[in-house]
Symmetry: C2
Subunit: 214 residues, 2 copies
């Protein structure tokens, strides 16, 4: 600080805690320097309790959440509320890439079955194989269900329409052939290359309705 | 939860800590529901240490900062590094509305004087008078400086070009007439109705250069 030289200013004119906050906020997507500054200045003017609430919510989101042992979604109870719900149709499992895809489908209010969340897609180059994605756990779920009253009758593949998403769906289709179940692929209305999470509810509901045999 | 009715879903499909984070993030400016979701999902995937750093930065920004007793800016040392700097010209004081205006001027690298941060503008309807803005403290600073070797020779009024900003500048001009100093108003290049904080460095530096007697 007191180096005797006229110091070069960039973030240096901000008090340190503020500069740190601005730097931290810029780690987030959609937030560049100007937005980070604006958010930081806004937080400076918020009452202490409000900033504490925001900080707590961020700190606790990771601590209080885990993955559902059954379906693999992010949840605060284990198994999750969908897997334990008596109102869900146990005979249908919808396979999605991520928990946010599950939540996107839940928002359509048009699906009452169960889910299986892969937590990614097959990607040999990144070292993501069937084991990492809990695909064997899916096969086991289907096998176990045949012992119960309600065997799984249909698996809906709702991975994204990307190269990896399609490859993953194909892999699942091939390996699910050994089971006596319908394997369908979510279809109509999803723009090619689109991300499931950002599609409107109506289109997504349509895609579920119009599913076809894989 | 187990109310027996098919529950209406909106945020309810999210695990509670995640729903809470999304709600908290939406309190911030420029962040709507979609952006809040995107930020929250991103944080879920960050390593724990990263989310902890963001949370800490938010929690600490209010705790570690206070107002400079001399100029009123937000600072982590008191008095602030500008007020205590031996390299600053003690004979010029630039009056700004908020600390972020001060930082905007600092970024121009074209100003070496001191500042006085009002923390707002005169607004009789909101009950913001000269006392709330530390205007008397400014007058006292100028009086005190005449006892020292370096009496204040110029006060630059750099309030925003809004009705209240102009009214505040006018009030200051009238009351500073009793002192034997130049009172100037920041001028060229600031768009009428514009907010100082978001103006580019060059324009802002021009406005400082081209200041005229108020």
């Amino acid at each position: 600080m007191a180096d005797g030289l006229p110091h070069k200013e960039s973030m240096q004119e901000y008090p340190k805690p503020l500069a740190k906050l601005i730097t931290e906020l810029q780690k987030l997507p959609t937030i560049g320097q100007k937005t980070a500054q604006r958010l930081a200045f806004f937080m400076l003017k918020l009452p202490d309790t409000e900033t504490a609430q925001i900080a707590d919510a961020i700190a606790q989101v990771k601590q209080q959440l885990s993955y559902c042992d059954v379906c693999g979604t992010i949840t605060d109870t284990n198994p999750c509320y969908i897997c334990t719900s008596p109102r869900r149709n146990q005979r249908i499992i919808c396979v999605v890439e991520e928990s946010d895809d599950l939540w996107a489908i839940e928002r359509t209010n048009g699906y009452t079955g169960l889910y299986h969340v892969l937590g990614g897609v097959l990607s040999p180059l990144d070292g993501t194989g069937p084991d990492e994605l809990g695909i064997n756990r899916l096969f086991q779920r289907i096998k176990d269900s045949t012992i119960n009253d309600e065997p799984v009758q249909e698996v809906i593949l709702a991975t994204n329409w990307t190269t990896e998403g399609q490859a993953t769906a194909l892999y699942l289709t091939q390996h699910l052939e050994t089971f006596e179940i319908n394997v369908t692929r979510i279809a109509y209305g999803i723009p090619v290359g689109g991300d499931l999470e950002y599609i409107d509810e109506v289109t997504l509901a349509k895609a579920l309705e119009g599913r076809r045999k894989a």
